[in-house]
């Protein structure tokens, strides 16, 4: 039995040394990077892994009969093992590499939506989806006669579970495609309960875990979800590589997404046959270097440990909610009980873009706007919010800098 004896704490000062970019100054001020939910910064081990591959061990994969190709294939496929271990997938073949979460969800909408679902069935999403988990389903609805149902969220920003269950009641729902953690409200959805309910009504479940997997351990077998999508660049890895986990039996039933090299078994002028899962879904030369970088990112996260990450971020989030609530005229959007390190807010008398620009002048990076969740903004009667989001390198002191500067922004526009 493996006993994890690592303390559930994070030595932030030491972690910050792993991220070269955090030593940068912006507009003459130390960088205060509070936009990790959009994309996280990269530790030295990720940078080195990609550079080392280019300098010492690189060729195209899955096809070369030479040493370089074989070594590079091993390195790239090693990432599949690392991802399977990270998510506790039952088998490495259940890990499909994509460009990002968006492509993973589009793959699912195409191959499961058109290939397995039948016209007349329905897909349920929530009212707090990123556009990447809404638009592909709208496209499926329009192309394939699938009904699209939206599960409402409460004023606190939580999934309305009664409304959610009501949407499942008629048994027409083939798939629930829902965020595991909102990129705007910070809300975690009750994943276990969602899966239980969906399965009870005969629906499969896909989680958009783009945010959640950064902050919380995801065990797809314990969760019993059918699909799980996420992206490498938010987990301190490179851009250009994402993951779709799917249960093997379901992936086997799904037709390919893109056609081309690597995804075939044999090709004649007349017809082709498909490679086995997961390669059936991986047409063309993949993001080899990014895959290698992602493995380094996963190992980095696992060395710190999800318990320590979650404890650090819970502490940061509590601190942020306390400090920001103390800023006069500031309203926090989303007050879910179970939430992570993403805090959206509005400031009376100041448009979110002006807030972001004034903070930027102080070296503080936040995001402002609708955060690719335009319908959710409408749900809360807003045009946009400013959003601070945290990573493992975020300090309590940075949140204090944010809160102090928000006071100054408020005074400036008063």
């Amino acid at each position: 039995m493996n006993v994890d004896i690592r303390p559930a704490t994070v030595d932030v000062a030491r972690i910050r040394e792993d991220f070269p970019i955090l030593r940068q100054t912006v507009r003459g001020k130390p960088l205060v990077f509070l936009d990790s939910a959009a994309s996280a910064q990269k530790p030295r081990v990720v940078i080195d892994a990609m550079r080392d591959a280019m300098e010492t061990q690189y060729a195209n994969i899955h096809r070369g009969l030479h040493w370089m190709s074989e070594r590079t294939t091993e390195a790239y496929e090693g990432t599949r093992d690392a991802v399977a271990s990270l998510m506790n997938a039952a088998d490495r073949s259940e890990i499909v590499f994509t460009r990002n979460s968006t492509e993973a969800i589009n793959l699912l909408a195409h191959s499961y939506g058109r290939g397995v679902m039948r016209p007349g069935q329905a897909v349920v999403v929530s009212a707090m989806e990123h556009h990447s988990n809404l638009v592909p389903w709208q496209m499926l609805r329009d192309a394939h006669g699938i009904e699209l149902r939206i599960a409402s969220v409460t004023d606190a920003g939580e999934l309305d579970m009664a409304a959610f269950e009501a949407l499942l009641a008629d048994g027409k729902v083939g798939l629930v495609a829902i965020t595991h953690m909102s990129n705007v409200l910070g809300t975690y959805t009750p994943a276990e309960r969602i899966v239980q309910l969906a399965h009870a009504y005969g629906a499969k479940v896909m989680f958009d875990g783009s945010q959640a997997i950064v902050h919380r351990r995801v065990d797809v077998q314990a969760l019993d979800c059918d699909f799980y999508a996420w992206t490498g660049h938010k987990l301190y890895g490179p851009t250009g590589i994402g993951v779709l986990y799917g249960k093997r039996a379901l992936l086997d039933r799904m037709p390919p997404f893109l056609g081309g090299g690597d995804m075939i078994s044999s090709v004649t002028y007349e017809r082709s046959t498909w490679a086995e899962v997961p390669h059936k879904f991986e047409a063309g030369t993949p993001a080899i270097l990014e895959g290698i970088g992602l493995k380094a990112a996963i190992e980095y996260v696992q060395a710190i440990g999800y318990d320590a990450i979650a404890a650090h971020e819970a502490s940061l989030t509590d601190h942020a909610l306390t400090r920001l609530s103390g800023v006069k005229g500031l309203t926090i959007i989303g007050r879910a009980q179970d939430r992570g390190g993403v805090v959206s807010f509005t400031l009376e008398g100041a448009h979110p873009h002006d807030v972001a620009t004034l903070l930027d002048r102080q070296g503080i990076a936040v995001r402002a706007g609708h955060h690719c969740a335009e319908p959710l903004m409408g749900r809360f009667g807003l045009e946009g919010t400013a959003r601070a989001s945290f990573g493992i390198y975020t300090t309590h002191g940075e949140i204090d800098v944010l809160a102090d500067n928000l006071e100054r922004v408020r005074e400036f526009f008063a």
Partner: protein, 157 residues
């Protein structure tokens, strides 16, 4: 803690803040000859403006309703003030000159016959140092151009 000034005064000059808080032209015109909307779907800024022409075809009045940041509202108000009494041709020339000003901070037209109106728009030149905000400043101008062209919708995306 010290106030934000002077760190942000390059962009948020007093005159810009004043026009954003108290726009002089922030109203729907009861009688108008043209109207158009400007929309930045990516950031949610939206402006609707109305134009009234004089008998000699010059721009007699511009009114607007805007939803957006301080920069877009101040820019709409300064634009309305600046194009009033000018020909459509001059208004288009001012847009061209303003676009250069907003993107580069430079004002090649400031030595020409446009010097006086361009000086009025100069407080917005600081936006050039914030590339993501340039479209906030140019949105109302896109809407004005659409109104002058007789089209209904414009975007500065």
């Amino acid at each position: 803690m010290a106030s934000l000034e002077p760190d942000v005064r390059d962009l948020y000059q007093d005159i810009v803040l004043d026009h954003s808080r108290h726009p002089r032209h922030g109203r729907r015109l009861a009688a108008f000859d043209a109207t158009a909307a400007g929309d930045n779907p990516m950031c949610g800024d939206r402006v609707q403006l109305w134009v009234k022409y004089a008998a000699d075809e010059t721009i007699a009045d511009v009114g607007f309703e805007a939803r957006g940041c301080a920069i877009s509202i101040a820019s709409a108000d300064l634009m309305a003030e600046t194009v009033q009494g000018r020909s459509r041709h001059d208004a288009r020339a001012l847009f061209d000159a303003f676009r250069v000003l907003a993107r580069s901070g430079e004002c090649p037209q400031c030595d020409t016959s446009l010097a006086e109106p361009m000086e009025r728009l100069a407080p917005l030149s600081g936006v050039h140092d914030y590339p993501s905000r340039v479209k906030c400043a140019t949105l109302p101008w896109h809407a004005l151009q659409a109104a002058l062209d007789g089209t209904k919708e414009a975007t500065s995306e």
